[in-house]
Amino acid sequence: MAGFNKIVGSYSEAMAGLEDGMTIIAGGFGLCGIPENLISEIKRKGCRDLTIVSNNCGVDGFGLGILLEDKQIKKMVSSYVGENKLFEQQLLAGELEVELTPQGTLAEKMRAGGAGIPAFYTATGYGTPIGEGKEVREFNGRNYILEEAITGDFAIVKAWKADCYGNLVFRHTAQNFNPMAATAGKITVVEVEEIVELGALDPAHIHTPGIYVDRLILGSFEKRIEQRTVRSA
């Protein structure tokens, strides 16, 4: 009897079932709050023709950027992909497709995917190249475009603390896209810094209820910093 215990024992088990051609939704913003080790496991598995939905594509040599090295990514759905030389090369060479999506629309598409909302209207992108080919409709005198939800075969998520039921708490701004990603995967895999006793998390302060989580694994993280900015003490 497994009950609600979502803990798995290895990264290989965590990503079991991932196949060529699948769509993966990934949490994280820049290098902050990214599922580092789940990404490494995808590289290790070597699956190809992947569609990755993530606000960014990591950097050269870290984060989702490492999946470019063996050309595992067919298509990225992102709002900003400017931190990555290899990305640029593969894009210019026509080896990589990119579907640019405004950041807020991307977040809302993931949320909608998890929440059973197939599509919604937004003013974001109306009158721009992003609105081209999309239905335009007026509400209360303003024009909006129709945007459809996103779901994935897998969602990969990084949280701070979890209990064995998969209830999650995120740390600081490492929350970002992770909660929405968690709702939008057919299989949602989460790696965390700490697994706490059941009952140790305050029910009202759980960011992601365990119902969204299928597999949970304890990891250790490099947490690379992209822009190290400081002031004098």
């Binding site: 902050c32 709002s79 990119v98 950041q103 809302e108 992003i130 929405m180 900015t229 400081v230 002031r231």
Partner: protein, 218 residues
């Protein structure tokens, strides 16, 4: 003399009001935070999920899990809240942010803005800019008045792909403070020592020039 980056930020900062929730874009807009007028309080929203952005951390305070939308390490100010990207853009899209300041390549008399894509150059993406311009009622664009080659960035019609349509009402350039209404640019202030003629020459879109154009002071 054209305004320096710091002066641009200073001029923009005069538009801040007490109690404003403000989103500052990357570049010159970020500098605005250094010039908040005395006696007023503003809170900075960072679209990756932070309301109440504080100063950069000291070496000891650096935390990889605490960054802003420019991916810089930051701190949270007292009274800050932290939330998901969906919540952050609900806030932005829903018009709850009082002021957004961002840069641009071009602005036109219809209030259109182009700021994210130059055809033929590599596209990096719009990030949150399209959401920000669609969501805020009150947007200030900061940019140089003309390109390095002397081509106006204040146009009859934007030539580059748009970031947002009909959403810009205020522009602070290195030469002037300009408002947009009724399909015209309205010259409101000029940079110290910059002549009205220079501004007219470098403004391609229709510009309404009043009899007196006050000079900015710093």
């Amino acid at each position: 003399m054209a305004l320096t980056r710091e002066q641009l930020a200073q001029r923009v900062a005069r538009e801040l009001q007490d109690g404003y929730y403000v989103n500052l874009g990357i570049g010159i807009p970020t500098l605005v935070a250094n010039y908040v007028p005395k006696g007023i309080e503003v809170m900075l929203q960072s679209e990756n999920g932070l309301l109440g952005m504080g100063p950069f951390p000291t070496e000891d305070e650096i935390d990889a899990d605490m960054i802003n939308a420019g991916k810089q390490t930051v701190t949270a100010a007292k009274g800050a809240s932290i939330f998901s990207s969906a919540e952050s853009f609900a806030m932005i899209r829903g018009g709850h942010v009082d002021l957004t300041v961002l840069g641009a390549f071009e602005v036109d008399v219809a209030g259109n803005i182009a700021s994210w894509m130059i055809p033929g150059k590599l596209i990096k993406g719009m990030g949150g800019a399209m959401d920000l311009v669609a969501g805020a009622d009150n947007i200030i664009v900061t940019m140089t008045h003309a390109s390095k080659h002397g081509e106006s960035k204040l146009l009859t019609k934007c030539s580059l792909p748009l970031t947002g349509a009909g959403c810009i009402k205020k522009v602070v350039t290195d030469l002037a403070y300009i408002e947009i209404a009724d399909n015209k640019f309205w010259l409101k202030e000029r940079a110290p020592g910059v002549s009205v003629d220079d501004i007219i020459r470098l403004t391609e879109g229709e510009l309404v020039v009043p009899d007196v154009v006050p000079e900015m002071t710093f």
